[in-house]
Symmetry: D2
């Protein structure tokens, strides 16, 4: 596949991302194995085929070649401030357990099957003694997993959504799609995320166990809740919303998937203006469903990913933080780096 992966791309490959980042206005915190890419594409010079009234949204705030969007905001200084928030050393798991029964968006699935063949095949090895391989009688068990990503608690790649056939920074399907996934914006391009986390408990602010489906979280809600919590947001933050909707997970999956409350467009623009790094909620998507504009489905994540390069998290288990009234914490998210994936199955941690 390696060969194929390279041949199907017409652009030169293998310039160091380090070189790219060196020209960016901000120096992100992370170092590691990352795909080296030259992001120049003819598509970006061509601005035809956009929806009526939509102007080119590129180049992005982080440069024409950028593919990590608002994660650029997580500088070493941001990381350093974040770790200083830890006062007790307690860790709250923000991930939900994934299995084949947990609620999933239509078309998504995940199955796992145990592989207990080794306890049989090891019995046939010539040096088997008793019940396994060798005098130590070793056996092992593995499993097969099959499914889509975009299930469970997840981190989306900004490549997951498009406007027509265009991605963040103006790239097009014809530039990016490979048989094995996306050649840009895959999870391997997304750094581990260690930053300050903020929980905005809108349910508590509104005095409700959970917000209604389609409820549009307003900027006034956000400001009011933050004031109540005595917290403010900073550049590089992970801003998480507790809507209470996650309480339906595995209790009433049908209702859970039927809609959701979420931040409206006004809030998203405000988050972007405040240069936050990523945002998430205890809902299966991000933003109200049904949305503010019925003619524009899923406009919130579409705007976030494609126009702004603002990363989103879904199905967060925010209730642990809400219950403890922990509104400020070290947010840690280290995800699998499967090449070309549009999402990762995750379980971030809040440390306070």
């Amino acid at each position: 596949m390696a060969l194929n992966r390279r041949l199907t791309a017409v652009w030169p490959w293998r310039l160091l991302i380090a070189a790219l980042i060196a020209t960016a206005p901000i120096q992100p915190a992370w170092t590691g194995e990352t795909p080296a890419v030259d992001m120049k594409s003819d598509s970006c010079g061509d601005t035809t085929g956009l929806p009526k009234g939509v102007k080119p949204w590129w180049p992005s705030r982080y440069g024409a070649d950028d593919q990590i969007g608002t994660l650029n905001e997580i500088t070493p200084a941001v990381v350093l401030n974040a770790v200083r928030l830890v006062k007790t050393g307690n860790v709250v798991d923000l991930g939900r357990i994934l299995d084949e029964d947990t609620p999933k968006f239509p078309g998504r699935y995940w199955h796992q099957t145990v592989d207990v063949s080794a306890p049989y095949t090891n019995l046939r090895r010539s040096d088997t003694v008793g019940q396994g391989w060798g005098k130590n009688q070793i056996n092992w068990i593995t499993e097969i997993q099959v499914g889509t990503f975009q299930v469970g608690t997840q981190l989306d790649s900004i490549g997951h959504i498009q406007i027509g056939d265009r991605f963040y920074n103006g790239w097009r399907d014809r530039d990016v799609v490979e048989e094995w996934g996306l050649n840009h914006f895959g999870m391997e391009s997304v750094p581990p995320i260690i930053t300050r986390g903020v929980l905005i408990d809108i349910a508590a602010y509104k005095g409700m166990q959970r917000l209604k489906p389609g409820y549009v979280i307003s900027l006034a809600d956000v400001r009011g809740a933050l004031a109540k919590e005595n917290v403010s947001v900073h550049a590089g933050d992970a801003v998480l919303f507790h809507t209470g909707w996650g309480g339906l997970w595995d209790r009433d999956n049908k209702t859970f998937l039927s809609g959701e409350p979420g931040p409206g467009m006004e809030v998203v623009r405000w988050l972007y203006a405040h240069r936050i790094a990523l945002t998430g909620a205890d809902t299966w998507s991000y933003g109200p469903v049904p949305g503010e504009d019925l003619d524009r489905p899923f406009l919130v994540p579409q705007t976030m990913y494609v126009k702004l390069g603002l990363f989103g998290l879904e199905n967060l288990a925010t209730e642990g933080l809400a219950k403890r009234k922990v509104y400020e914490f070290l947010f840690a998210l280290t995800h699998h780096k499967t090449r070309g994936s549009t999402a990762a199955i995750i379980a971030p941690a809040a440390v306070y």
Copy 2:
């Protein structure tokens, strides 16, 4: 499946893990959605069928009901000390990218295929305008992934290996195996790991680019390297070994998989005595291959997982830390909580 999952288990189910942990000698740091289990089993009272010379290794140091082994050592105090190690805010990614070509143990595989059907099916919606769904012309791309776990950079569950048909704490295959995975020791039972990390650069200590396959890292090596690095290990640490073997990854996969250097039994016992929480290396397994005792294959991880409950990490990208001579750091590992899995595909981060 939920029904099946419960019916096939004969033991009472659903005691709170909180209750169990309350009786444990140590209070781990984390809180979150965890499987509630009653760990009592008739198997543990029965000590028949063990390999010659092997005595029952249970109950474990953390109690007869424990299933997280040495991760119990990560207390809030340990977490608090770990975050205080961060001086610069730099983040080093310790994960390797996974794709179908990266090296895998025989029998393991991983494939991903892009799903770009939405750009076609959205064209047929009644409210489509132009190139996608709605006036915002939204489209999305997902993917199908299929494969085994136990691939790429990974965290093993201590349920991955057995002695004969016995697990950690004496449980047996007949108690633990479900069609969908393991009903104990699955990744959903493993907490997010935020702790102090230590890198022991044995390659540098021995003045080699990489150790030889089958090289047994001795306790003297470990002590010498630590002295050279001016670092010591503490209870709750993540102790990582740089052997240089990972330099073969994706460069010479055949040699990479043909064997590996690794810590010997003496080192493992020493790590356990020092109450470290987990250990890992830049190799595809953990421990020398071929091993110290040719009649006992993979004795190191077998002892770690089954007898000690000591967690292991594989295929770590340790070279970033080694190059920077970062030997002490905040280690963050938040992994997918797929129910019943014996491993997670991970990319931990070191923050220094």
Copy 3:
């Protein structure tokens, strides 16, 4: 895998099946690529561990080394007689369409996802002209399928079921199980089946649209229905039962899977005595559910596969034949030869 496949087997491998069959009392009709196996096993000499009151059922009627059971009955003469039954040249499809929504036994699943990446990747080839690869603008579409076998209209391997850990001819799990499937009794060992087919319409005989779940088809029913149809059974036949239960397929899947009518033990022994080659029905398993003996679940297929080596078919679309009152026909079943599988997804044809 090839290496692994061979190493894990301790018995000598690669004697020609031709040699084995040469010693069998019957010469089956087919020739083709088949797995060459030496069927000798120490397990067969050991008769311990059988259920109370059960005596060794091996060697089979077709020899100690046989793995195709009653399919041995399909001789060239049987085939020749079968094709002579065709009078009109009409073909009735006996298979049901399989998709992710069709009814499945708990734990079984099947998913398919389209792969339309080529229309994008072909656009990036250097010799692309317009909308595809080359001047002929070629594109292609494929798909990913994942799932268990044992779904939809199916042919079971006689290796699918065991008594304890014993198979047909006394083999044990420890002899037969490989990571990739079964090293004996896999679908690759099952010949294409061209033989005489007989439909026994028990629903019509009983004057019912469909039999009740748990209804035990008796030998009297069989004899009565055959007399009414003016048909008899012969050695080598495929004997199919129409119970009407299949009318629930995709109409009321919950009821469909809740039980089923089927031939009782008396009928199975009679079919075996008449040396039929295989038998099937329009039900998800074969035999009544609940069964005749509540302490012995699925005793009918267990007896057929393990003790008798009598092959079974499930989820047949028998209504087309029943409606046309076609009771005698050429039965054609050519199935995928996936190595080591315990079943094939099929759609046999009746030609009359």
Copy 4:
């Protein structure tokens, strides 16, 4: 998915295919569960976007609504003539065994893993006696299979290939692509195939063990070989070519996949003019590779599927017939009817 499947299609659904076929000039032989579709599409009226010099190839010879192309030629009379060819009752298997090691086109794969969990979970049932469920101690083994279709011996759907984004009868990707496969031309729409088979042994005619890669089988070759075999082709036939290339299968997979001999465009047009129903060979594709026109890759199958609706078979095990000099036979192919698939894994049989 059922809901989704219907909502994403904008055309009315559920007219009986019987009604459609009633208007076709030919009455095919088969009856059975088939997808009911209304094939009208706006795409067919629009003839824009074709490659330079290519004129609309629709409506097809079998009508604008047809989706089974040349399989329409298999009438009851054809079937009746075919069964009369059987003289000895011998059956030759034309399928090759599929496993993860058998040769596959780049991007295609297939994996199977055994599921032996039941022997463990059955031990925990309350009515278990000894080694399995119930007093009959039943256990079972299944497997998980994952992969692409388009592997092994296969039958292609005519929907597998396009010219630009156009299919047979002028349909377009935007009409046909669903997340779960193709809503037209899927394997569920392809009837079981019982017809006369003809083997044309070009290798023997040319006096070679196997033809060279890229060798273009000419019409003169075909006529010469048929004359030597004393056989002619008829409407409705399955015409199979023995090139000897299949002898490399599993012996030298690299060479096998590096190219292939095959019928040229002239032969395909001649087959179509003779109204044959389908054609196949012992090669991984059909037609010479490299092809006759280097600017037009895979022009032979593209023409067959898209323009002509002529079905193709790949990786046939033709050597059994060639060795026996069986050139005329009953050809039986009954394939899995997985909804929306572009191919089936098959093992057809020749009966002579």
